[in-house]
Amino acid sequence: MAVQFGYSINKSNTIDMDTAPRAMESYLLLHEPSFARCIGCGCCTATCSSGVFTQLNLRQIQLRIRRGETQGLLPEIQKCMLCGKCQMVCPRGVSTRNVVLSIQRALQLLS
């Protein structure tokens, strides 16, 4: 029985990492290598200008990409206004703006 902490960023589910589609992740690691440095701390999401109005959650998007759950990503990522606050606060120095733009480009190439 799973412990309920009362919060989570994803619903519980099962992912088979052997078969999960990793193309998006590979694309990002190639075109924005700093993506690999993300520790999922969530500073980006906490400071997000769009987050005030929407459910845009870069931390969750990062997690979804790592798990290959890239369906339905486009409307999510396009909520970003590219203001760059997340990049300024990122403690790991991830170029988050380029991550967002690269995700859009990858979606275009992979679709």
Partner: protein
């Protein structure tokens, strides 16, 4: 018969063919460039030919294409090098034609005759009595030779001409360059050999006499004139495929620019002319902080433009996406190529996915008030700035409303810089509605990035002010009067978007000067440094940005000030992270709480 009638000699062939080639090529090129202009711009260009703009253009062409005044202002040695070659060569051509018009008018219509006049004059045994022409021709030849000498020296030791780095040339540029270099020594040689018969002055006559002492027959006359003709021909044939295309294109660019033709989103038309006008002088390499601090030499503007002209667009896109868009290179450029606009256009060309309308963004009305304050996303990261501004508004009794107190819609400029013009438009429209609804007559913003887009793109029927302008206005009206702090020395960091890109240099300085002594910095105002944090760059990494920030801090801290004052939340945050030595304070914070200017005791440094 033919030879006598036309004064023809096979040795003029390389020159003549080259000339025909280059004239045809340039004429077709000019037609193509004009054809590529949008219809509106064509009309503008046509009209400019019949107004006083054409006189201004002619003057500018004379000043920039012959005298190279802008390069002179940057660096006298480099300016002289360009001026001596351009003006000297031009005068030699003009004088040769005048000479022919005076002494052999029947030959004036032969395009090659003035160039090889000395050679033909020798053949026909005519004598010349224009001693003054001999002197002038020698004088200008010497002038060109001195310029070529500097150019050769510069290739090996660029520091001598004030360039820390010079452009790495490709083979096409090298062939054209060596052809150009060889034209003038060969001309000297050829003229010296003929000087005994057809005349010469201090230079050619002198050399001629020296040569006579060890070569007595005149069999070597023809080969040297052949070599001269070949050098000219080679230069003409390689010119369109080399950097020297800037010589003819710059004239066209000046005509376009003075006709009021502006960059459009598509990046054709004037952008194409600018790409061909780049002389690859490499002055922008030293200006670029991506090169000097982050060591990304291949990202410099000169290589970006070359890549657009000669290489693949993909590489060019890579180069365009790294740039911070600070515009230091444009400020340094002697041709004033708006390379950041070319970069923007290229970023737009990268087709994004079909975008849903940003309908989820609410339009939260605020007001009514006389002044509407927009802090900007970045000010929310440095809340000290917006808190200070609120206190200043309250202290001065300004009737204001805080547009994005609870977070607001981005101004749209970051979106624009990433090439997403349409999405940026949507953000702009939403913000514009809120601003107009407030009924304010002044919009004050704390962020220069927002300021620029409000001033340039929003087309608002109200006054747009950066907070430094607002504070100065309040000081002039006597509503706030900060005390001068005796003994406090500060430096001011010009934010790119406020200074170089919006032309606001004096207002912040006046505010600071009322409170502390401003120390001059090695690079400020037009050449103000980029802090490295700008949202203009898409692909620059954190470490590369940090190197730029550290470089900027080192230069700012050289006069050992008590504090760095700036007028941009993004600069403040970036510089703060790069130095622990002194406090980095925004102008609004400084006015609100002068105590912040005190050098904080740093336990590590003491």
């Amino acid at each position: 018969m033919f030879r006598e009638r036309f004064s023809y000699d096979p040795l003029v062939l390389p020159f003549l063919l080259g000339l025909i080639f280059i004239v045809t090529y340039l004429a077709l090129g000019a037609i193509r460039m004009i054809k590529n202009l949008p219809a509106e711009d064509k009309i503008r260009l046509g009209k400019s030919f019949f107004s006083k703009q054409i006189l201004l253009s002619i003057r500018e062409i004379f000043n920039e294409c012959l005298l190279h005044l802008r390069i002179f202002k940057k660096n006298p040695v480099l300016g002289y090098m360009h001026m001596s070659i351009a003006l000297g060569w031009f005068m030699m051509i003009v004088l040769a034609h005048v000479e022919v018009k005076l002494y052999a008018p029947s030959r004036f219509n032969l395009p090659y005759y003035p160039i090889f006049f000395r050679y033909f004059v020798r053949e026909t045994q005519e004598t010349l009595d224009g001693a003054v022409f001999f002197f002038l021709m020698d004088f200008f030849l010497l002038m060109v030779l001195s310029g070529v000498g500097i150019a050769m020296y510069k290739r090996f030791n660029s520091k001598a001409t004030g360039l820390r780095r010079t452009t790495r040339l490709k083979w096409n540029d090298r062939i054209a360059l060596y052809a150009l270099w060889s034209i003038f020594p060969l001309r000297l040689l050829a003229e010296s050999f003929t000087s005994g018969i057809s005349g010469g002055s201090f230079l050619t006559r002198g050399f001629g006499m020296v040569f006579e002492t060890f070569v007595s027959n005149d069999l070597h006359v023809r080969p040297t004139w052949w070599a001269y003709s070949l050098a000219l021909g080679t230069f003409f044939f390689t010119l369109p495929f080399s950097r020297f295309m800037h010589i003819p294109t710059e004239m066209l660019l000046i005509l376009f620019r003075n006709a009021g033709i502006k960059h459009r989103t598509t990046g054709t038309g004037i952008a194409q002319t600018e790409i061909y006008s780049c002389s690859r002088c490499g002055i922008c390499i030293d200006a670029c902080q991506m090169v000097s601090a982050a060591r990304l030499e291949n990202k410099a503007t000169v290589y970006f433009i070359r890549e657009l002209r000669e290489g693949g667009r993909h590489n060019a896109w890579d180069m365009a996406s790294a740039c911070l868009m600070c515009r230091r290179c444009v400020e340094a450029c002697p041709v004033k190529i708006e390379s950041t606009l070319i970069r923007s256009a290229l970023r737009q060309d990268w087709k994004m996915l079909r975008r849903e309308p940003l309908s989820f963004l609410p339009v939260n009305h605020t007001g009514p008030a006389r002044v509407i304050y927009f802090a900007g996303c970045m000010s929310h990261l440095t809340p000290g700035i917006e808190q200070s501004m609120v206190r200043i508004f309250e202290k001065t009794g300004t009737d204001f409303t805080f547009m994005d107190r609870e977070g607001g819609i981005c101004c749209g400029r970051p979106m624009m810089l990433a090439g997403e013009t349409r999405a940026a438009r949507e953000l702009i429209d939403r913000n514009k509605k809120i601003i107009l609804h407030s009924g304010a007559d002044t919009l004050v913003t704390s962020c220069p990035i927002c300021y620029r887009v409000f001033a340039e793109e929003y087309q608002l029927p109200l006054k747009v002010q950066h907070h430094s302008q607002f504070i100065l206005q309040m000081m002039e009206q006597g509503k706030i009067s900060p005390e001068f702090r005796e003994g406090t020395r500060v430096v001011y960091h010009d934010p790119c978007e406020l200074g170089r890109n919006s032309g606001i240099y004096e207002e912040p300085r006046k505010v600071i000067a009322a409170m502390a002594r401003i120390e001059p910095v090695a690079e400020e105002r037009e050449m103000g440094l980029c802090c490295g944090g700008h949202v203009g760059s898409i692909s620059l990494t954190h470490h590369q940005r940090r190197r730029i920030a550290v470089q900027a801090c080192n230069i700012l801290l050289a006069p050992s000030p008590d504090a760095i004052v700036t007028a941009c939340p993004l600069c403040k945050k970036t510089l703060m992270d790069a130095t622990a030595e002194v406090p980095v304070v925004d102008i609004a914070q400084m006015v609100d709480n002068p105590e912040l200017l005190r050098k904080h005791p740093n336990p590590v440094l003491q």
